[in-house]
Structures are given as C-alpha cells and as structure tokens.
C-alpha cells in the first residue's frame, strides 16, 4: 500500500516553511532551476548560466523572509532576481547579440552545439532581430524577453521587475515596434560577411 501522493505545496508555503527549515528551500531550486537556467543560457550563453542560476538561488534564499507570501507562484520573483544578475552581464549580452548580427554566428549557440558548423549562417531575420535586441534599452529588452522567452504574463513581468503593468505594456510595445522595424525596414543582406577559401 502506498501513501496517496501529497499535494504539492505552493511556492509561498515552501518559502514560509523554509523560514524554520531552511533545507526546504531546495525544493524551489528543484522546481525552477531548469527553466531559469535555460532562460539565462539563451541570454548570456551556456557558460554563464551555471553561475548566474546558482547566484540567483543563493540570493533568493538570503532574502526569502522578504518574499510576499500572498503570491503563490515564485517564478516572477525568481526571474526578477535572475534579471538583475543578467543585468550585471549586460555588456556581454549585447556583445554576443552584436556578434550574431554582424557575423551570423551565435556565440550563445556555441556551447551546446559543439559543432561549429551549426552556428554559422543564421537566417538574416535572426541577425536583424539580434541587432535590434542589442539596440534596445536594457529595460525594454528585459520585458520583451521575460515575456517571449520566460513566458511570463504582463502581470508577472511587472512583479518580476517591480514596475507597473502599464510600464510593462509600454516597454513591450516599444520593443516590438523596434523588432518590426528591424525585420521590415532593413536589408538583411547588408549585414552579410562572406568567408572564402584562400
């Protein structure tokens, strides 16, 4: 006879329990480290993701007593902390986006692809998008990618970044307008660089 499966406690309950039993906090890691890792890897590359994710959870653990227990889902809170960590590497992020835009080769893809040939010749649309992403204001890029890559809702992005929902909307609109301009208003071939054998 097996015990009935325990109902999964919501994140707030886990965090509250971790006030008394700190080890409980590892449950939060098990729930969300993988998607956050993938999100960070998409932004900063595979190599940076391990440290950024580890630091994110260390920071979250340290400030767990400040968590708003009325929020049952900790994802926005954790993505917000991760976003701040990512912000420390903004230059690296912009550089890699610029490299993708300029060369069609994505430094971020390098880590997992292993095969260098997979990384070359990104579609011109990707290059245009990368150039546009690199050119966004950091706050606009954060909102766009939390929604497009982390699948946060407007409300969740607002919680993550501690900004009003209206600001999320206006940042997203601005970012998307720039994406559309990049896709429509520019000749992608102007970004091309060709390699030739000697």
């Amino acid at each position: 006879m097996t015990a009935p499966p325990r109902e999964r406690a919501d994140d707030a309950a886990v965090i509250e329990q971790s006030w008394q039993e700190p080890e409980t906090f590892a449950e939060l890691y098990d729930r969300y480290a993988a998607p956050i890792h993938r999100y960070v890897a998409r932004r900063l590359g595979d190599g940076a993701a391990d440290d950024v994710v580890a630091e994110t959870f260390l920071a979250a653990f340290r400030i767990r007593r400040r968590y708003d227990l009325s929020r049952s889902d900790a994802r926005p809170w954790l993505y917000g902390i991760a976003a701040n960590m990512i912000g420390k590497h903004r230059r690296a992020e912009v550089r890699m986006l610029r490299a993708l835009a300029r060369t069609g080769t994505d430094p971020v893809a390098e880590g997992h692809a292993e095969r260098v040939d997979n990384r070359v010749s990104a579609a011109s649309a990707q290059r245009a998008l990368a150039a546009a992403l690199a050119g966004l204001a950091a706050g606009d890029r954060e909102v766009l990618l939390l929604i497009a890559w982390a699948n946060l809702s407007y409300d969740e992005a607002a919680v993550a970044l501690e900004i009003p929902v209206g600001t999320v909307r206006s940042r997203l609109n601005r970012a998307r307008r720039k994406m559309r301009e990049a896709l429509g208003g520019q000749d992608p071939t102007s970004l091309r660089e060709e390699f030739f054998n000697e």
């Binding site: 070359v120 497009a148 102007s190 060709e194 054998n197 000697e198």
Partner: protein, 426 residues
C-alpha cells in the same frame, strides 16, 4: 508569424539543462543553507522586495582595492558565496573578426581548476611566440607621465597627421586572443594567436579582411561590408564625427555599454568605445585628437610604462576599475617617444595588469591605399615575437595553450575547406 513569434524562435534550440548540470548549483545552495553561521537577520517584511536589493546582496562579493590587491571581503552575506565570480573574456570563433573586443561572459566554475595549476608566466629567453617554452610576459613600471599628459601628447601627435585619405583604410595588426567553448564539456579558455590580421576598410565599398599566419579557424579572406565591424559605422559616419570634445563625448556615451555599479565602470565602457573607434577605422586626425582629449577626462584613467604586444616600449593607458566593478578593462598603448597609437588590449583584470590579456593587438602598419590588395610600403609579412602571458600569480584564469578539442580538425587550410563544403550543403 509575427515579430514576437520570431523573437520566441530566436535561440529556441538552447536546451534545458540536465540534472547533472544543475547539481553543483543545488549543492552550493545546500552548502549555504547548512552553514552554521547565518547572515544577520534580515528584516521581516511583508511587502514584495526589490530585485535590486537581492542583487546587491549577491553581487560584488569581491571587493577590489585600487592597488590591485583584493580588499577584505565585506558583509556577512559574502560567506555564503562559495566562490569568487570570475570574468573571463571569450572570443568565440565567429568573433575572431573583432579580435580583442570579443564577447565577454561569465566563466563556468569549470574554469576554476585551470587557475589552480602552477602559477606564474613561463619565460622564454627568445621570446618567440611560437616557442614551446611560451611567450615573454611584459613588465610594468610606474608611469613617468600621467595618463592625462600622455593622452594630451597623443592628441597633439594625432592632430599633426596628414588628413589625405584613399579608397581604403588599411591596418595590419599582430594579435592574440582567446577562445572558449563556453560549455561544461570542455571547460577552459585557450589562447589563440599570435597571428597577423590585415584589414582593408572601404570608402563606400566593401572591404577585405585577411586573417593569416597562425590565425585560428576560420582564417582566409573575408569580404566585409562597408561598415566598421567594431562600431558598425560607415566611412562617411566615421569621417563626420565631431571634433569638439563635448558632442563627441555625447556620442561616445550614447554608444558605450557601461557596467553598472561604479562611475569608473561607465568610464570603462566609454573608453572601450573610444578604443574600438581608434582601431582599424578611418578616423580623421582632428577626431582622433578629440577622442584622446575625451579619454583624458574619464574618471579612473591611469597610465603605466610597459611594452606592447610586440615588445615595443609603450605607455599603457587604461581605466582602473572602481570598487565592485567587474575587473575586465581596455587599454591603449602609445609610443613614449612619438605618442602615436601602438595598439590596444582587452584586460582580463584591470586591477592586476600582470594577469593575462584577453586580447591584444599591435598595429604593425596602417595607412590609406587605393585598392584592397595594396599594402602600404614597409608592411611586414611576418610575426614579431610576442610579449604576453597566459597565467600569473593571483589571477583567476590560466589560459590553455594548444588547439581546443572542439576546434581540432577545423584549423588550417584543410579545416577551412571542410567548413566551406559543409556550408555549401546547408
């Protein structure tokens, strides 16, 4: 498919990490949880908390004194951090076209063990870069002139140059860089080069880039578009930059990507953009002079006497990182006699110049020419012995030497042909 869908597709092939991959992070978390000495009690508050607060707790564990020694760690939260955050520069294979200004990213913990090897640069009496005993590490001496004076003299020297241009602006540099897989499979940062790089930047026409003599994959000829690969500006835009420091600083500040946290970090970003403008771009003499004057006004700007990548006596000008600022930085090298620009470097640790450079370029020849095959008179075709280090005591990273595992079979002419064949099949 709308724009948001296209953004969703971008890098969508980045996989979810395996549990094995996440295990060290979990162990770090548990280690910090079970640590007997808890940080000071955090205030109990119900309101949602600023992510900014949390980041402030977690980042900036390593205080760094301006003298290059690590400052005592501050704050109880520091103890929770299992290891120091290490910045290493990564010039990904594709980024070899922007040598020395490659992407920067945080190294995975796997790089740490490389640093625990025998410290100290290996010395080679001959100094030949390809010498199996390794390169000669540069020596740093206190500057005889301040950075402001050096930059002022550089501005005067630049302003005296002839303003005649040609169809192409040619630059030949000898450079070293780094390449990293940025992956857990083959952790490590490898030294690339020294090699020669010849760049023809065309006036309104495409240019040409030749990576030759010892260049890592991919090498060969690269047909370039008509914008600068470092700053993305056209010839006309570069030629029409303002010559007055204030509007020029505004452009520099707009284009620079500052680090957060420290005023010097903003300056580092601005200095980096100035450096990118000055290398391989047809900048008019008056604008060069103005760029040096702008640089002279940046906070934290410092000078030190040393040698450049090819061993020429040089004054190295760089921005010292402020407290809590990332250690990476940029440097420009000037002749101590003529105050001409000799080259540049990307520093892996601007607080400890003995740490290996992430990338460095020495300008061997430059000038305006009329075709994209023409070389200015006297352009060398051979490498000079290079002066750099791959490791030093107290530095977080030891650079590995040799061909990285993921590059094996992809270097050299055969690798280039294979690359071309694969490319045709896509």
């Amino acid at each position: 498919m709308n724009d948001l869908d296209l953004v969703r597709e971008l890098r969508a092939d980045v996989p979810s990490p395996s549990w094995a991959r996440l295990a060290p992070g979990r162990a770090r978390l548990l280690a910090s949880i079970s640590q007997p000495s808890r940080p000071r009690k955090l205030r109990r508050a119900v309101q949602p908390v600023g992510a900014a607060d949390s980041a402030a707790v977690a980042v900036g564990e390593t205080g760094r004194s301006l003298s290059g020694r690590r400052a005592p760690r501050r704050g109880s939260a520091v103890r929770l951090t299992a290891r120091r955050t290490v910045w290493v520069p990564v010039v990904a294979a594709a980024a070899t076209v922007v040598v020395g200004v490659g992407a920067l990213m945080l190294a995975p913990g796997g790089f740490q063990h490389a640093a625990s090897g025998p410290a100290g640069p290996r010395q080679a009496p001959g100094g030949a870069a390809s010498h199996p005993a390794g390169p000669v590490a540069p020596v740093y001496r206190p500057a005889t002139l301040t950075a402001a004076v050096v930059l002022d003299k550089a501005a005067a020297a630049a302003a005296r140059q002839d303003n005649t241009t040609g169809k192409y602006f040619f630059t030949e540099t000898e450079w070293v860089g780094t390449i990293s897989s940025a992956t857990g499979h083959h952790p490590g940062v490898y030294r690339t080069g020294p090699s020669l790089r010849q760049n023809w930047f065309g006036n309104g026409v495409g240019g040409r880039l030749v990576l030759a003599v010892g260049a890592p994959w991919p090498f060969g000829r690269i047909i370039r578009n008509a914008t600068s690969s470092s700053v993305g500006m056209t010839w006309a835009q570069l030629r029409s930059l303002p010559t007055a420091p204030a509007p020029l600083l505004a452009i520099v500040a707009k284009n620079a990507v500052p680090f957060p946290k420290s005023p010097n970090s903003t300056a580092s970003g601005e200095f980096e953009f100035i450096q990118e403008l000055l290398l391989e771009n047809p900048i008019p003499p008056a604008v060069q002079a103005a760029l040096y004057r702008v640089a002279a006004g940046l906070p934290g700007i410092k000078a030190v006497d040393t040698t450049d990548l090819v061993g020429r006596p040089a004054v190295e000008v760089y921005v010292e990182p402020g407290p809590n600022a990332p250690a990476v930085g940029q440097a420009l090298y000037f002749s101590p006699v003529t105050f001409q620009l000799l080259g540049e470097a990307v520093l892996s640790d601007a607080a400890n110049l003995n740490c290996p450079v992430a990338g460095s370029s020495a300008i061997l020849a430059t000038g305006y020419v009329s075709s994209d095959t023409q070389l200015p008179a006297g352009t060398p075709t051979k490498l000079e012995p290079a002066h750099y280090s791959n490791s030093a005591p107290g530095c977080p990273t030891t650079l590995l030497v040799g061909t990285p595992p993921w590059m094996r079979g992809k270097t050299g002419q055969a690798g280039l042909r294979r690359f071309d064949r694969q490319r045709e099949h896509r």
